[in-house]
């Protein structure tokens, strides 16, 4: 991937990938990393400022590796959108480590309302291509690419 980014912890940048869409996230903690990834996920789909926190969804996902956990977490958000039209405004994440990793996520948001939400992009899937979750000296970095 080209040049190291200068994103702040708790932020993300978009990747200009040949085929599709993706982003790189940086955070101070693992929890924050998964949280910001969820925010970036929704930002690409819709102007998140137009989404109100009217209801919540609780999800639990697990995976043996952290990078796989990122894929299943974002895939769960995609599933919520496709089956219920649920759009998130904010996400809270806690992680548990056992034999693998378990993520408990609470997403605050509402159902898609075409009068208020203009959906820019819908993902087909979260891919394993170029997938990364890495520890940095002062935090964590992750990268994920979507098939759209």
């Amino acid at each position: 991937m080209e040049g190291k980014m200068k994103i702040e912890a708790g932020g993300y940048e978009l990747l200009n990938h040949t085929a599709d869409a993706g982003f790189r996230v940086r955070a101070r903690s693992l929890e924050e990393l998964f949280q910001v990834a969820a925010h970036a996920f929704y930002d690409l789909m819709v102007d998140r400022a137009t989404v109100e926190e009217r209801e919540h969804r609780d999800v639990v996902v697990d995976a043996s590796e952290l990078d796989d956990l990122l894929v299943v977490w974002l895939s769960e958000l995609l599933f919520l959108f496709e089956t219920e039209g649920f759009l998130g405004r904010s996400a809270q994440v806690s992680l548990e480590r056992g034999a693998g990793w378990t993520l408990h996520g609470r997403i605050g948001g509402e159902g898609l309302d075409p009068d208020r939400h203009e959906v820019q992009l819908v993902y087909k899937a979260v891919t394993y291509h170029g997938l990364k979750v890495e520890r940095l000296e002062d935090g964590w970095e992750a990268q994920v690419i979507f098939d759209v």
Binding site: A19, F81, E82, Q120, V122, A125, T127, H129
Partner: protein, 485 residues
């Protein structure tokens, strides 16, 4: 992106390039392209992907790429590879997320003069009203229960016809008769079902479309006659696939096969190439689920065809039969199939992956519908929405060289991001209207992402497959009105 490498590339003729076997490759790569195309292809990692596919166990013949090749997940888009059923593998990365994404084309007795002036606009608007499309499109009137969904997954287009969507005679003009017989609905997860339940009979978004066009030029009058293509005749393309259900099947099985690859000792050059032996439990499960998703896509295109016919009936005030609105053919371009091919004089059972590539069987093949068997299988190649599309026919050369496969479309040259950037401040709809094409789209960004310059000129792609002899042009169609998802 990515480092440029000097590939072991060897030009075979003006249309073919060999990637000589190196590293862990088990066979050579073969790319169909002109020198100019190859320069662009080398900018991406697509050639590396052709080489990666050549590393998979049990590959038979070349790891191939069609001239509309571009970067994909695992296999490149435009990738064709066959694996021995006994010793080879099946890979979801060789099919893609949109399982059985495909195209169908209808012909009619209508001509340009019946669609003159503003009439095309009204017709496209009517299609837009009658066919659910766009981001997250779902149907509130039809949410399939499990037992009914099972029947869709088992029967494909035949389910739709039995429900009154279209005519039984449509079925013989669909690849595989519109039904993958080895589909196994029990291998489709609850999640995939949930995603697909309310999406049957929806176009979706992105590059999916319904396009009304006209036959602009006929290259092979004899074959065109058999296909029902006449200069000036109105045609309709439908391009869509298995929607969220197929995406989820791919996603589910990538996760399963990532584990089985290590179980079977398969080294993966790229995670997205995860695979399992064709005859393993995991391999059979994937093929069963993939077949079920493919049947969902066949049913989906069949239902949309029915609404196209209904729209035309309302619009012209007469029956679809009188309008001569017939299905010419329906082809898949994201599939893995178990087929028999002659390799070095021996008939072999192979698992042929075509990802962004179309089956193109020659005259005489039993899988070609009886009405077309004397001339060969129709091959449908949509271009971008501003220029033109092609109808080709399969050849013996394709049978001998590409397991009866050819290109599938134009192939992107600009990423979606780049396209949106370059469309900023322009009205793509107006520009297209000046070229005589009326477009309408559910999503605002879609027209920018899908603008003509985001794609290769499909005539360049067709020139390569024609030059290489792996299919032959029959006719060129020009778009008049396009409904984008």
């Amino acid at each position: 992106m990515g480092a440029r490498k000097t590939w072991n590339l060897e030009q075979v003729d003006p249309w073919r390039w060999k990637i000589r076997r190196h590293g862990a490759m088990k066979t050579d790569g073969l790319v169909y392209a002109t020198e100019e195309m190859l320069r662009a292809i080398q900018e991406e990692q697509a050639l590396e992907q052709v080489s990666n596919v050549a590393c998979l166990p049990g590959i038979v013949g070349y790891s191939m790429a069609m001239p509309d090749i571009h970067w994909g997940y695992g296999f490149p888009i435009g990738g064709v590879a066959a694996f021995s059923v006994e010793e080879g593998v099946v890979s979801p990365g060789g099919v893609g997320y949109d399982i059985n994404c495909g195209v169908r084309l209808m012909t009619s007795h209508l001509t340009l003069k019946e669609l003159g002036g503003e009439r095309i606009k009204d017709l496209v608007s009517a299609l837009f009203t009658n066919i659910p499309s766009g981001v997250g499109s779902s149907r509130k009137d039809m949410k399939l229960k499990d037992a009914e969904l099972d029947r869709v997954l088992e029967q494909g287009a035949a389910w739709a016809v039995a429900k009154g969507y279209g005519d039984p005679s449509d079925l013989e003009k669909i690849e595989e008769g519109g039904c993958i017989p080895w589909a196994d609905p029990s291998k489709v997860s609850a999640k995939a079902r949930e995603r697909g339940r309310s999406q049957l009979g929806t176009l979706g978004s992105g590059n999916h479309f319904v396009e009304v066009g006209v036959v602009e030029e006929v290259y092979d009058p004899g074959v065109a006659e058999v296909f029902g293509l006449h200069p000036g005749g109105i045609t309709v393309f439908v391009h869509t696939g298995s929607r969220g259900l197929g995406h989820q099947v791919c996603d589910d099985y990538i996760r399963i096969l990532l584990k089985s690859a290590s179980k079977y000792g398969i080294h993966l050059p790229d995670k997205q190439l995860c695979c399992a032996p064709v005859e393993s439990r995991e391999g059979r499960d994937y093929l069963g689920a993939m077949g079920a998703a493919a049947n969902f896509a066949f049913a989906n295109r069949q239902m949309i065809t029915h609404w196209v016919r209904e729209t035309f009936e309302q619009f012209f005030g007469t029956s679809a039969e009188r309008l001569g609105l017939r299905l010419l053919y329906d082809v898949c371009h994201n599939m893995a199939k178990i087929e028999e091919h002659t390799v070095e004089g021996r008939l072999r059972k192979l698992c042929v992956h075509r990802k962004g590539a179309t089956r193109a069987f020659a005259a005489g093949h039993p899988a070609v519908p009886p009405v077309y068997r004397a001339v060969g299988q129709p091959v449908l190649i949509p271009g971008d929405m501003g220029r033109y599309s092609y109808v080709l026919v399969g050849t013996d050369r394709a049978m001998a060289e590409t397991f009866g496969s050819t290109c599938h479309g134009a192939g992107r040259v600009l990423s979606r991001h780049q396209a949106i950037k370059s469309a900023r401040g322009r009205s793509i709809a107006k520009e297209l209207e000046q070229r005589g094409v009326f477009v309408t789209a559910a999503g605002k960004a879609t027209l920018s992402e899908e603008m003509p310059e985001a794609y290769k000129d499909v005539s360049d792609v067709v020139a390569v497959v024609q030059g290489a002899g792996i299919s032959r042009p029959v006719a060129r169609l020009k778009p008049l009105g396009v409904m984008k998802g």
